[in-house]
């Protein structure tokens, strides 16, 4: 009997093998992929429920000096393992139905397994370097999955966008890691969390936060997440609920003492989170694409988590990650059912009246949306309450969190009304099989997960306020009237994406390309041009020498022979009678000489 607890580092390996096997044999993906994630989940559950005695760790190999390839598992990691593999498992099973008729079925599942592998590697890392490996890996896997329908227009561009915005954050992450490596000599979390604060650690914390804004889709790097909606819907669910975007929050939770030692960085994170949260919530309130509404909702909720993590309430942030994983996965998968039933329609203006056609999807999505909005008693209520309590000390943050709460209720009910009520516009059918039954565990989690959170003393005042705000949001959401100017601002996404397009894509790519072209053709090309013109000149000189000196000698010799042979050549007239004359004369002379002698 192998010791599963000591060998906890096998957890990420199952989906890695799954991805490798599927990529190799290209069949049986619908069995192998969910099975591998289920193995991870079961293994994670065993480790989680076993007595462990502190942090487990296992060094696989010495990667580089100061950077061991080491895994570690504590309650936080294992909670994330359970979220990632549990939600991941449900999404895998759901995908069997959702992706059944797609070409590239095996490719989809190989990438999905790879995604889960990298996320598990990320949460089980014992130092920033291993975490970075997983961090990059989820970026890669998300790129592959967002670009899954690579033959459709704009998909590749959006996949590239997601990847590049992530890369921008990753550059910050890498710089932060290198700074910490140069200070501490290694980047083990245990070492970093004990570092005394200094200017350098503050810089490192801010750079790591930049990395987290990229991965978790926060200001200034949040614009990729809504565009990542071109991926298949279960992928969106996976990105938003379990893997990828939670990585930033996990990083803050993992480095909580480090952030506590550098409160300025925490404040920056909280400000970024609050601003993102509010902006994304306003955009979600005017968006028409159901998946984009959910995407901006995720950005907004992640902003709340950033706010909490920045203020030091990492418990609250992780609590919200957990509940959010349930209800956001449920929202995306029910949205997937709707899109599937409407043959790819994503615009809520073309939906309506689906309540009777898809009764179970209606009930489940309503449950999830209420949980998201913070309906009292559901999971989202408790976790959002924890964040509000954390923000209580800062009136500005508290006000922003409450406004976000109101807006969350508003856009949730707006979406529900638009999709399920009103008149029929399209024919639809209820989902069945995998695509319905995988939703039950998520529904249970969305309803009840809040009761298992880290509850401090109950702040009744905050709870009451939060409940009232959410309910009023839900109530006003149906007939929300936003002034036209503001609506325009929200619908254009606060011009943030446009600004990036103008500055980064146009200025940097067009003008930058021109500048780079000038640099390349005028300066870089000097490097080949100087030796090449030297060679050309030398070649010309040598050619001249060859043509005139060497060839000259040869031709001079030939000319001398030609010249000296000229008199002799005259004898050879080619005329037969000249030769005959010569013969006759010779004979006559010979004869004459003979006779006379």
């Amino acid at each position: 009997m192998v010791n599963l607890v000591a060998n906890f580092w096998w957890i990420p390996l199952y989906p890695l093998f799954g991805a490798a096997i599927i990529a190799f044999i290209r069949r049986g993906a619908s069995v192998i992929a969910p099975l591998m994630v289920a193995l991870s989940f079961i293994h994670g559950l065993i480790v989680y429920s076993s007595p462990r005695g502190g942090t487990l760790d296992h060094t696989l190999t010495q990667w580089m000096p100061g950077l061991p390839f080491r895994f570690a598992a504590d309650d936080l990691s294992l909670l994330m393992v359970l979220i990632v593999s549990g939600i991941g498992l449900l999404i895998h099973i759901y995908s069997i139905g959702y992706m059944a008729k797609e070409p590239g079925f095996w490719r989809y599942f190989a990438c999905l397994n790879l995604f889960v592998f990298f996320m598990l590697l990320l949460v089980l890392a014992s130092n920033l370097a291993v975490l970075f490996a997983g961090w990059e890996g989820v970026g890669l896997a998300s790129y592959l999955l967002i670009g899954f329908h690579h033959d459709r227009p704009t998909v590749n561009r959006n996949a590239n966008k997601a990847f590049l915005y992530n890369r921008a954050g990753d550059a910050g992450f890498l710089l932060g890691t290198l700074i910490l490596l140069s200070i501490a000599g290694n980047v083990e979390f245990s070492t970093i969390n004990k570092l005394p604060a200094s200017g350098l650690t503050l810089a490192a914390a801010l750079l790591l936060a930049l990395g987290a804004t990229g991965k978790s889709a926060q200001l200034p790097l949040f614009v990729w997440l809504p565009d990542a909606m071109v991926g298949p819907t279960p992928v969106s669910a996976l990105i938003h609920a379990a893997t990828m975007v939670t990585a930033g929050i996990y990083l803050f939770a993992r480095l909580a003492p480090f952030l506590a030692a550098n409160p300025d960085a925490g404040l920056v994170i909280a400000i970024l989170g609050a601003a993102t949260s509010l902006i994304a919530a306003t955009i979600a309130a005017v968006e028409h694409d159901i998946k984009r509404i959910l995407a901006y909702s995720t950005v907004s909720q992640l902003g709340l988590m950033f706010l909490a993590a920045g203020l030091g309430a990492t418990e609250a942030a992780m609590f919200h990650v957990t509940t959010h994983a349930f209800f956001k996965a449920l929202l995306f998968l029910t949205a997937g059912n709707i899109i599937h039933a409407l043959h790819g329609e994503q615009d809520i203006r073309y939906m309506g009246g689906l309540r009777d056609k898809m009764p179970w999807t209606f009930r489940l999505m309503t449950l999830a949306a209420l949980s998201l909005a913070g309906f009292p008693g559901l999971a989202g209520f408790f976790s959002k309450d924890a964040i509000l309590v954390a923000a209580l000390k800062y009136p500005v943050f508290f006000a922003i969190a409450l406004s976000v709460s109101f807006l969350t209720g508003a856009y949730s009910s707006r979406m529900l009304w638009a999709v399920f009520f009103g008149t029929y516009q399209r024919d639809a059918h209820e989902a069945h099989g995998n695509m319905l039954h995988t939703l039950w565990p998520l529904a249970i989690g969305s309803a009840l997960a809040g009761y298992f959170g880290p509850h401090g003393e109950l702040a009744w005042g905050v709870m009451l306020t939060s409940a009232l705000v959410s309910l009023s949001g839900l109530y006003f959401g149906r007939s929300l009237r936003i002034p036209v100017v503001l609506k325009q601002l929200f619908a254009r996404r606060w011009f943030i994406n446009d600004a990036y397009e103008a500055v980064l894509v146009h200025a940097v790519t067009r003008k930058g390309a021109r500048a780079a072209n000038w640099f390349d053709s005028n300066l870089v090309d000097l490097i080949p041009h100087v030796p090449s013109s030297a060679t050309t000149t030398l070649g010309l000189l040598l050619g001249w020498f060859d043509r005139f000196v060497v060839d000259g000698l040869v031709r001079l010799t030939a000319a001398l022979f030609s010249l000296s042979s000229y008199p002799l050549r005259l004898v050879q007239s080619g005329r037969i009678q000249h030769y005959a004359l010569a013969m006759v004369l010779t004979l006559a002379l010979t004869l004459g000489w003979y006779l006379l002698a």
Partner: protein, 104 residues
Amino acid sequence: MSLYPITTAHYVILSGALLLIGAAGLLMRRNIIVMLMAIELILNAVNINLVAFSKHWQQVTGQVFAIFVITVAVAEAAVGLGILIALFRHRGTVIADEIDLLKW
């Protein structure tokens, strides 16, 4: 020198005259056909010489040799005229001065 009786000397003089006429024709005429005919004259001059001395010395070797010369002359004429026909087809002329490529 009387013409009668005809002696060997007469033959030698005839032969020498034919040789000179042939040589002159060979050197002066530009038409290759005529030049070939001149060569025939030269050969026949030799034949007369051979036959005459054969009679003079009462030895048959000279006559045999003359027959050989006639044979060779026939062969030479055949080959020469064959070449000449080919040449005419190729160059359209039988004038020796215009066929002077074989030089240098």
